[in-house]
Symmetry: C2
Subunit: 145 residues, 2 copies
């Protein structure tokens, strides 16, 4: 049985693709029945589109795959705490579970309370936190440098 760590590692791979493209390194995968059915990485710079977050791209891809705009049987693994926009999208899609790596106190949805996501959505935080955080720190250190 594939573990949470396995899927977060896949989300991290997506984040690394963002990093290599000069984007804030955040990645996400949507999993249904132990299979990845949607993935994405932050592409806001490349597309000059503020809505092109990893989670948004992964949700849209997963919905296309299932032919449904609801994902209650799915989990999303995302390297960084989703922002308010993405949490709103996760609510509309009724994700079964959200697993994120590192908290983002400034823009993360948590500051508005967990009520922002669907009441049936389970939330797991801090999975592979160090790896997810290290990638972000490296990115911002390079950008400042």
């Amino acid at each position: 049985m594939l573990s949470d760590e396995h899927f977060m590692r896949q989300a991290l791979r997506q984040a690394e693709r963002a990093f290599e493209s000069g984007e804030v390194p955040i990645g996400a995968v949507v999993v249904s029945d132990f299979q990845i059915i949607g993935k994405g990485y932050n592409q806001t710079e490349m597309l000059q589109d503020p809505t092109a977050h990893a989670e948004m791209i992964a949700i849209t891809a997963a919905c296309q795959h299932l032919g449904s705009k609801y994902l209650p049987e799915c989990s999303i693994y995302v390297t960084v705490e989703p922002c308010v926009m993405c949490a709103g999208a996760l609510r509309w899609a009724q994700l079964g579970r959200i697993i994120y790596g590192v908290a983002e106190p400034k823009t993360g949805f948590g500051r508005l309370g967990a009520g922002i996501v669907h009441p049936r959505t389970l939330i797991t935080t801090g999975l592979m936190e160090e790896e997810c955080k290290a990638l972000m720190q490296e990115f911002f250190r390079k950008r400042r440098g």
Copy 2:
């Protein structure tokens, strides 16, 4: 000089396109210097994509038009109060002004406080409220009937 009513009427036309497609009738236009540079209507059913709200489509289109992911000089006219997802997107895009027709107490961003949008964003509510509301009411009456 084109008025707020003029642009809200264009947003209503977008909402009517949603209505005709069997979608919850919400429409939006993004305006820069009295010119529409992005428009959209709710397409969540057609695309089976929970992120395909009128505002998201209009923001992406406007950013494509300007080649920028920021829209501080732009106004968005939307027939119904934006949801949390769309308000999050409007914050990222740093919209100069948000003008909406009718409040949506259940899913609108207002229930989370105005702090959800960018601090410099001006908000105008209730423009052509009756027309925007009537279209929504007709849609839900038909759907129930």
